[in-house]
């Protein structure tokens, strides 16, 4: 079994967003970069499959030198090898999907795991686009995964519940929180990772899909007001306000 895990480097969820001088990108000053949390579930799942039934796990990220941190971390956690696709990794999902598809083709992967979305870009599109470009099955927002003989069975989150998706391998499967509890890197893993190298490949040229032409902060919310009094009085003035001012009810 050969598994590819795609990892995206993203700003930490606690990042205060500032718009850069170009007016269309994130000001990188003071940004702490992390592996997108959903990708961590994907990597953990790959390592668990490896431990359960044996697999070769390859971690891949698109970007420049900075994303090597993401790959080193993946190696420390248990990936066997890592690939840095040199290209614009923060650009639109269609572009990234094409870069990864060009790398993946003819490599004989049985399974490609990714996060259901890269936080920040919030596109939730790379996985299904990659599946389509490779002409393979997909299952997204997965909270449970079973691998059979050339098949998979996955539980995916939908409105008001979940559904079971079955399909053929190879497949692109995107992870949701709840799939597993990612481990921390062990000292042994971190030491072993130091001996592993990161393969660097120039990403293939792509057809651009969509681009961000302007980035803006949300408008300030109008100032609110505090409701005073005893709990019963607060409760009744809140409901009155929601009814009369906000017209929610």
């Amino acid at each position: 079994m050969k598994i590819l895990v795609t990892l995206k480097q993203v700003p930490d969820t606690e990042t205060k967003i500032k718009v850069a001088a170009d007016g269309r990108s994130l000001d990188p000053a003071d940004v702490k970069w992390i592996t997108s949390p959903y990708d961590e579930y994907a990597l953990e799942e790959a390592i668990r499959i490896k431990e359960r039934i044996g697999a070769e796990v390859i971690a891949l990220s698109v970007g420049g030198d900075a994303v090597k941190d993401v790959l080193k971390n993946a190696l420390a956690l248990g990936a066997d090898s890592a690939v840095l696709l040199r290209g614009e990794g923060q650009s639109d999902a269609f572009g990234v999907a094409q870069m990864i598809a060009a790398y993946v083709r003819d490599k004989g992967f049985d399974l490609i795991l990714c996060g259901n979305m890269g936080i920040g870009g919030d596109n939730a599109a790379m996985g299904p686009m990659l599946a389509e470009l490779l002409g393979v099955a997909q299952a997204n927002v997965i909270v449970k995964l079973e691998i059979g003989d050339g098949t998979f069975r996955a539980e995916r989150e939908i409105e008001g519940g979940s559904e079971i998706v079955e399909g053929a391998l190879p497949a692109v499967i995107s992870a949701q929180k709840g799939l597993n509890e990612p481990r921390y890197a062990s000292l042994k893993g971190i030491m072993a990772a130091k001996k592993k190298t990161i393969e660097e490949i120039e990403a293939a040229p792509v057809t651009p899909g969509a681009r961000i032409s302007a980035l803006a902060l949300p408008p300030q919310r109008p100032a609110g007001r505090k409701l005073e009094g005893e709990p019963a009085a607060q409760a009744s003035s809140l409901l009155q306000a929601l009814k009369d001012e906000a017209k929610v009810f």
Binding site: A97, A210, R221
Partner: protein
Amino acid sequence: MILVFCELKEGQLRKPSAEALSEGRRLADASGKKLGALFAGASCTGATEAAKYGADLILTAEAPTLASYSSDAYATVLADAVKAKGATVLMAAATAEGKDVIPRAAARLGAGYASDVTGLSMVDGKLQAVRPVYAGKAFATTTFATPVQVATTRPNVFPAAEKPGPGIVESLPAPTGDFKSMVKEILAKASGKVDLSEANIIVSGGRGMKDGANFKILEELADAIGGVVGASRAAVDAGWGLPHSMQVGQTGKVVSPTLYIACGISGAIQHIAGMSGSKFIVAINKDPEAPIFKLASYGIVGDLFEVVPELTKAAKALGIGSR
């Protein structure tokens, strides 16, 4: 043509689909295009409802093979319909199914895709989108480089305005053959309530709830005012037995209800990112300095264990839930 992929639930047009259709009608009018509504399934009875929201054409791909959702089969239906009709814009609501099938169809069409958009316009005959990024901490204006443009609309943002259209029904061929994957079973949650992402009213609890069992008082309030219950990451990760599907925030659901009542939630940036799109925010917290109050339309500094039951009582007395 602007083509909108629509979903039916028990023979009825889903509300997020009606919203997408209605926005499609507005864009079609603005750019002198026709509006098509596209349905797929074993039966598309109910598809005619799309005429209410201005569909010129109602396209149905009906076949027993489409009874269960399949990503690749449905993507084929969508991409083939776009090609057959020469559509330049493909839209759907950003539902579980929409977010699964639409990017796949976009890739097949070689089209750029903007997901979960909160604003759309036609500029020089091409779609332009505004969408929340960093879970709503910023908004990105997105332009397309491709002849076909694809977008999903965030539920609860666009109004589902009725505007009757001709709604001429035309059936499409359905794909046959081996599908790569297929839904085998649907496991519904017992509650049968609407999903957080579609809810109009959300009552949410954080670390201040102290225990999972205490969420009962939020359930009671939600039941009284017709809402559903959510939770902060702190609450979900606290080991209180709350499912991840309840989590609102950057690594949970991003929601935009009319009313969001935050109980015992301090307002970590992670959480605010997921709910700041709510029209009205109520914060109930013991700590008057909690950052959540900066966002709140109405703030109550107090003990949620006293205030929430009073709210439930008052809501029942006012007969709010019964409307």
